[in-house]
Subunit: 399 residues, 4 copies
């Protein structure tokens, strides 16, 4: 007799196919779930495989738009980055995948959800923390943390043997083992164009922002000026441009949430361009102190919570209100260039924001304050430092 | 009768030559001071010009080594950056220049120092705050903030006319007006190789760090492996490699200390490479929490104080002790590639630090903790989030 | 002929009466302005004096409610405190006073505003930064920074002589010199009950909060239970209770914005109680991570900007949105006790927020997580620390 | 046959006596360990009881001095506080207790350590994280997280029955159940003098600091001036004064590390006074910006890591270097008054530090800067705010 229904996050690969079979053998009924977050996948082939392995059904849900609008865009709006370099590509997709999986689980009457994440990684944490926030009484079946399972399947060969025995078709190959991580924003080990073989001509394009969100991308295709405004199109176009110019690859050692270091090679082509343009525009339109507060507080903490899987949390709600408040004036456009592995900014402008005035900062012009006043500014700022200098001198210490 | 001796920061250009003449006419005796921070300058020609204009003497002081070791290296060690992109090239040189100028002023018995900085910029603030900390009772003569001076010399033409009248040779040209900003680490508007015309072959090199400081650079010249270890050589070599590959150019709008925005085009070739390598190495060898604390606190604040000219201050002493404390384990080497405008990291290793263990993070290996334990970690981490989910559900709000 | 109209912040005291006369003698027409922020003042007597000294008129504006609701309440909501102890009593009133003064200046057609703040204090900065934000083209006349004025009136005796000469009635006395600082929230040197002579019986009361704002205060008067709900009444009642029990006095050395240290003796009776109750309630109803982020970021920075006079600024708008976002769940009531100089919390409860569950944290009960799971939590948290211990041991360093 | 030796943290109470017996029955040899951190305890009686229950030996280690010098003093030096009110009394003792227990375990050849902490609290985490850092391969036996144990002993009655059956003397009573938490700095539920019945006369005393550390306490006893300078004496004297005046009690709801809220009634008498005096002295002797950086960064994070049991960690080493760097100038003395439940500061002075100069901040004196210069300071500071005001006006928004 069946123990109940489980909703399994299914990828079509060897691991989750074996888990699917294993769960069925353990007496569960299994509904497979696949999230379309823009990865290159033959979803129909995967669905067929799931059904062939004994799944009750296989639900494929397109969550690309919510992924871009709810996760990628706020990340751009606060210049999110983990440990100075990692643009959080994997982390960004996890919350929307978890939410879609819980929705399927609820619709299908599942008492539990399951996934194929390993027991040492970040993704198990991200998925499960999201599951528990979204449905606090959900049960989670994590075979790779179950000794019965992981001792039986101690290596890939055990999985292959099991697949052979159970008639599970094997399509996973050495050359593309980590497909699960792939999404619109990001892939791991799934390489873009190598900068060395990228086109010899640079590619220029212009990104328009409203309240810190990319709303239009202008580019040139076959000599024709084109533009896209739909959020998914903007993101995919930025991806395409960046990808063909080899932009957005990194190779890093990062600190996982559970406290170990791991090496990763990531690609985040479009996000790299959109974030660079956003940072640049803020220079033109954002108040200095708002920027300083946001930089020293929001960016770091929002990035950290995304990385650690704390998206569905009170602190994310709290920080997101800060992001919104910081972006009121981030309106304007940035001209960018992708070339041989990097993106650079060519210029920026804003029709609505007026914080920058070329004549004001120029060397020859005198604006509405007199240069003589700066003397007072400096002298007052120096009061504290003079005292410091006096103390150092009194103590015989050199500066 | 002379009003006393003034030590003038002299560049050899039109502005400071006119100021020199003007100060003499006002009754001061003037000792000119030039700091060699690595800018391309014909120092001897400038000295001659100063003397010809009536300077008592012209002291040229080579402070390249202290500039690199005392300013650039701590900046690398804490990944200093202002407003996400600016590597602080100009700001870094100001403290050592001010210190050398005060030393000359003291040696020559000057009661005042003078400079040619304009009344709207950052440099006047940086120089003068440093002067006042170094010698609290020093007098500062800032002609560009003196209405008598700036009203008389309202534009470049007035300066040119004055120079002609006084027989001051004019060498400044439109094409190189901002030479004053130039230093080893940095130039403004003084361009490196354009990425588009940079070499088609990438250039690889390896930087070695000890306690966060670059101590060796290995590179290839004419097919020969070479290496440099002297701090000045390391810096100059990094500069040369980066420069010929077009690395380190930015075009930004920044927020000045006095509260206006200004646009700048900067180049910081070597520093860009050294900083990128340093950030990468920290991934391998630095504890996660030390890094998080340093990132969220030291980097931002150290960069801000450098930008605002607060180098000789209690807070710099305080923060610098944090930098030192954070870098104990930053020992190792990073292989880098400069290519067509950007630098990327190819790999890194450390012989002494052992925080990263490839097998530990691998998917197949089970280390000294059991994957089953992660379940407890996740479930305890979820306690707070489940409560959040319950409250949201009770309030009828969707996550 | 008159030089134009000036709106002078008038206190009725010696200084501003002399300034009033002086401005008139200098050829200005002067409209006096007095803000009622709850200080004990005979406003009518002051008005008469102003008119007698030659003011065109004297406008008295009651801004107590906006002072409490727009300034004091947000300060309570974010637990504002400067340098660990100072509750910002003076700073809080400055923005609303400045705004009311600018409104009078605009209504009366004044081209300038004037005040009697000294040239070394914080208040000149706070007033003027507010003036300039509220009306960027306003002119400010600050006699105590004008050498002509301050050299003429080098000491109190000069003012007294001038007053005698001009027939200005003198009421200021040595014993109450700083009345200008007084407001509802705060007085300097204007003492409450000495704790030593405060009542021997404690006084208990209960404060109710909604979204972090005090909305009701229950107390006992002559054995009768009473309660107030109007914001001004709540504040004044808290003040009265605290004042008679000697609560809220401090004697500190603080760091002024201009960089000097000064000593102050302040009283902030009601605010001390309301803030203590608010902090306590947050323990019961606020999420840990939201609190941690708010504590480490908003409280410090909001307090600092209030102190430095940056209220009308982009960063205040930004931070205030964070305060609001943080206070959604701060609903409940706190029982307090004022006694002999201090306030303590007796207990707290909330009818709407359910984060605290007595059984959950009790020693004997097992909730919905198994204690065994904490083992996994600890072991995973220890991964990084074990590595640290191993490295220390390898290096022969003791912990 | 014995399974090996275990070092048990023994309190002499019911819980750990039952655990001792239980471990012996399970086949372990048990060495009991008691840390003297200043709690009121009959150590000899407890030792006898341990031996009677079958312990191999019972080691009692006096760690009061290291507790005060290594933990309490740094906490004072950085004004440590958790969630605005809790002075971390329990947390402070845990690291030194864990270190002493590991030392005993190593000396006695134990393969494991054990404790009686419950499975929902902070202390299990604090002890075990310390154990693992101090000896990464140590085994931990935590009976209250072992289902076999906690299901057998589901309530106090089960423990009492087991004690009766095994002949364990029972001394724990309802009135003093939490003795384990007690230490020199702190007790939970173990009350000091009630403020209402504290002496009617205030008690004044003076604390001297060197580099932020209390080095002398002067007080009056029976009309005689006395002073103590030994660190333990200073701490105990501060405790005694504060305790008899009812200083240092709080009743709070706090957020535990594992994510639940719990209520605690704590007393931290001496630490409350020493910390208040330290904060006050910093006003006199510490640079404003160093203080601001320390306040916004070190205090919060050091407190948090203490609370969460991360004392033996890279981040504690890192932060402690910041504490030391911040305290160089914290030299001087503070006169304090304890009275009826609170401590207040009467005054402070420093013979070595000269940052405060009474005449400098006074209203009548003109120091070495001209008040007119403040005009420039304000006008430059206003540049950004005027722009803000203009934008608001242009947008039709009121300030």
């Amino acid at each position: 007799m069946a123990k109940g229904k489980v909703c399994l996050a299914y990828s079509g690969g060897l691991d989750t196919s074996c888990i699917l079979k294993y769960l069925i053998e353990e007496g569960y009924e299994v509904v497979c779930f696949m999230a379309d977050v823009g990865q290159e996948e033959d979803f129909e082939a995967a669905r067929e495989k799931a059904l062939k392995c004994g799944a009750l059904k296989c639900e494929i849900v397109d969550i690309r738009r919510e992924f871009i609008e709810e996760l990628c865009f706020p990340a751009i709006a606060c210049n999110a980055v983990y440990e100075n370099v990692y643009l959080l590509g994997t982390s960004l997709a996890r919350p929307v995948i978890a939410r879609a999986q819980i929705a399927v689980a609820q619709r299908e009457g599942c008492f539990a959800v399951s996934h194929g994440c390993t027991g040492k990684g970040n993704d198990q944490v991200r998925f499960e923390l999201a599951f528990y926030a979204l449905q606090p009484n959900i049960k989670v079946i994590a075979p790779w943390r179950d000794p019965v399972f992981y001792e039986r399947f101690a290596g890939r060969n055990d999985l292959l043997a099991y697949a052979a025995e159970k008639g599970i078709p094997v399509t996973s190959t050495k050359s593309k083992p980590w497909s699960m991580d792939e999404n619109l924003a990001h892939c791991s080990y799934e390489l873009t164009q190598d900068p060395l073989s990228a086109p010899d001509q640079p590619e220029d394009f212009t990104i328009y922002f409203e309240k810190g969100i990319p709303v239009k991308l202008e580019f040139t295709e076959n000599g024709q000026k084109k533009s896209v405004t739909d959020s998914v199109d903007v993101f995919l176009t930025a991806n395409a441009i960046a990808r063909r110019n080899g932009v957005g690859r990194i190779d890093i050692v990062e600190n996982r949430f559970i406290g170990i270091k791991s090496r990763g090679c990531y690609e985040t082509p479009g996000l790299t361009c959109l974030r660079a343009a956003h940072i640049d525009l803020e220079g033109l339109v954002m108040d200095r102190e708002v920027r300083a507060l946001r930089d020293s507080f929001v960016t770091f903490n929002y990035s950290k919570l995304l990385y650690n899987g704390m998206y569905f949390s009170p602190e994310r709600e709290f920080l997101e209100s800060s992001i919104t408040a910081s972006q009121k004036s981030v309106n304007g456009q940035v001209r960018c260039r992708a070339y041989k592995g990097s993106v650079s900014v060519l210029g920026r402008s804003s029709e609505t924001e007026k914080l920058y005035d070329m004549t004001e900062s120029s060397m020859d012009e005198i604006g509405d304050f007199s240069p003589a006043e700066t003397t007072g500014f400096i002298n007052v700022s120096a009061i504290r430092l003079k005292k410091y200098g006096q103390m150092k001198a009194a103590a015989g210490e050199k500066l």
